[in-house]
Symmetry: C2
Subunit: 223 residues, 2 copies
């Protein structure tokens, strides 16, 4: 095991949670720098809308990536970030709820690009069960546990209606799921060992409406 990798592993735990999305942004910026060997913290900062000091601080959590006076080695940095983020692996994903949002996510290409493969989809609607969508056959939700265990799935995307969400998440937890991306407009309960991220589109819109309703200059958009 090379020394750098070891130092990444060792230092990993100190990084605050807000660093992780920034690593994703650095990674995307680096993807566009395939023509150069080195990149400076200043350049990375400009490409991602942060400061050079922040870039250096973020990388320092994971080890020593820079060469004095030269900046960071692009290739090494890219590999390190994919390893830190865990996107150098293939992640099998289960999707529960094949409504209009669920269907869209099934064919969303951004998932695949990052190594996320939706390998199972579930619904309780007889109309949807048995249908094929983006190469995946929709299964009865009763098959959830067996399928998740069989395919060793650890990540689930939840796109069911509000009333069904907690029940589905309980089922996923009992089936061994460890990370959930939840789109249902609830704050579900889950054990601490399971990481749940909520994306609530209505709440995002309400925040925007709040901004427009309360902005200093009166805006006459709503009627």
């Amino acid at each position: 095991m090379p020394a750098e990798l070891f130092s990444i592993k060792m230092k990993n735990k100190k990084a605050p949670v807000v660093t992780i999305p920034r690593l994703s942004f650095y990674y995307r910026a680096l993807m566009e720098k395939s023509d150069t060997q080195f990149v400076s913290s200043q350049e990375l900062a400009e490409l991602t809308g942060t400061s050079a000091a922040q870039v250096r601080k973020d990388f320092a959590y994971f080890g020593q990536f820079g060469a004095a006076g030269k900046g960071y080695r692009v290739d090494f940095l890219k590999n390190s970030i994919t390893r830190i983020l865990g996107v150098d692996k293939k992640w099998p994903v289960a999707l529960v709820g094949v409504g209009n949002l669920g269907s869209a996510l099934l064919s969303y290409k951004g998932f695949l690009r990052q190594g996320f493969h939706v390998v199972a989809a579930f619904d309780s609607d007889e109309e949807k069960i048995g249908r094929e969508l983006a190469g995946v056959i929709v299964q009865n939700i009763d098959a959830l546990k067996d399928e998740i265990k069989l395919k060793k799935i650890k990540i689930a995307v939840v796109t069911v209606p509000q009333q069904a969400a907690q029940d589905v998440i309980d089922k996923l937890v009992r089936s061994g799921i460890k990370a959930i991306l939840n789109f249902a407009p609830v704050r579900p309960r889950a054990p601490k060992s399971v990481e749940v991220h909520n994306i609530d589109l209505s709440i995002e819109l309400e925040r925007l409406a709040y901004f427009l309703s309360n902005s200093p200059r009166r805006i006459f958009g709503a009627h």
Copy 2:
């Protein structure tokens, strides 16, 4: 103007940004309490997964809602929250980028429930222009500015590919849009007077992958 409303308006500016999504959660909890006249901060806390002290603190930013010993009046609280959030109004919304995510959002019922009406949709793809989706005819992106001004639209949802995002957001800003919900995987530049919220699905998945890759007990989900 009743005294309560005045006090809401006056105190409004002090509320920290994290309070707003909690108001959305309180509101949903209140929707299920239509059978009772009063609700306690403890009850609201349990329904929304926060503490009674937090509930009281959040409402205190906007004025006096509680009656000593009785808790909050459900009806008054509901009306106040809709007014604070600005969702008592109808918000015309423009959607730019009618790919699979954009199409799903066009027919997403959660928007309508909160008073958000997608009244215009745009794309640059000749194949899509002229088609009707969820009652809206997809227009050429060249018509963006005129249509936004004509329909007095202040909110836009952006679901275009990464490369097109900044250009589209510049166009929206020039057309008078004041709030943007951006799904394109970039951190777009925009003037301070325009509120941009980014929802980046890939980054959410990368955060989950990071969690799984770095969780204390080794998880053998990825291969």
